[in-house]
Point group: C2
Amino acid sequence: MTQPSQPAIRTELIRPFLETMLNVLKTMANLEPKIGKPFLKDGLEPIGDVTGVIGLAGENVCGSMALVFTEGALLEVSSHMLGETYTELTPDCLDCIGEMTNMISGGARAGLSNIGLKFDMAIPTMIQGHAHMVEHKTRGPVICIPFELPGGKFYIEVAFQTSN
Amino acid sequence: MTQPSQPAIRTELIRPFLETMLNVLKTMANLEPKIGKPFLKDGLEPIGDVTGVIGLAGENVCGSMALVFTEGALLEVSSHMLGETYTELTPDCLDCIGEMTNMISGGARAGLSNIGLKFDMAIPTMIQGHAHMVEHKTRGPVICIPFELPGGKFYIEVAFQTSN
């Protein structure tokens, strides 16, 4: 018996998000997270405590990206990025995830324009609340890339409908 | 002594959101919520349990909209809209807020194009989690329109940066 095969994840779509995340964390926070295996979301999980959401809307792309952080992971990133020790979430931490959302969508925007996908810049929306879940209203797949730091887990979720 | 005056809220920017919300609730759910006084957000409140977020990105607009619902308000709207009695949040309720986010941003998009503001359609992202708060990363004002139903409160938050 064979398992039903999962649809292939188009790596050229997720590479710009993944590479920008690693680059941002390395250069701005001197952090190198473990990267988990990307998977297609099939439900509401993963669960996060702080999330940055941004729309990816353009002539031939319609989608959204979310950075879903557990509190521990965001405290670690904020502490390293801002040079202070954060033990609880503050407006600085929310700003930090907003900046990351901007930088990662901006980096992905540049990378995806190389394969002909163009979208306008939007502004991030940040959500703070213990143990929330995110769903993207798309007819296309939702790709989730898991990461892990000593402080906790975090995820990039990308939902895409493309017309080419 | 005079109070520091709050900056004026540009009614032509919020009217399309407000009118579409009232129209959607009336025609699809036969509900007429009380409308509170719109205010400029100055912090993280209001608090919601289910939120729909969508980007508003285009040639001369850069922003985001969030529909922030308390659980009670969304259960009431979902029950009326879908013709079943919901006593707890289900995927149907999440879909319901996603649809409303689409319809209200779509209606606002049509209304705002009349005053020269054009943006592309994005897809909504829905967040479910008890007592979360939303922040919009914008240099512009964030307008919040409060509504109330017997089941609870809900809000439209609109963040806008326009270049004209």
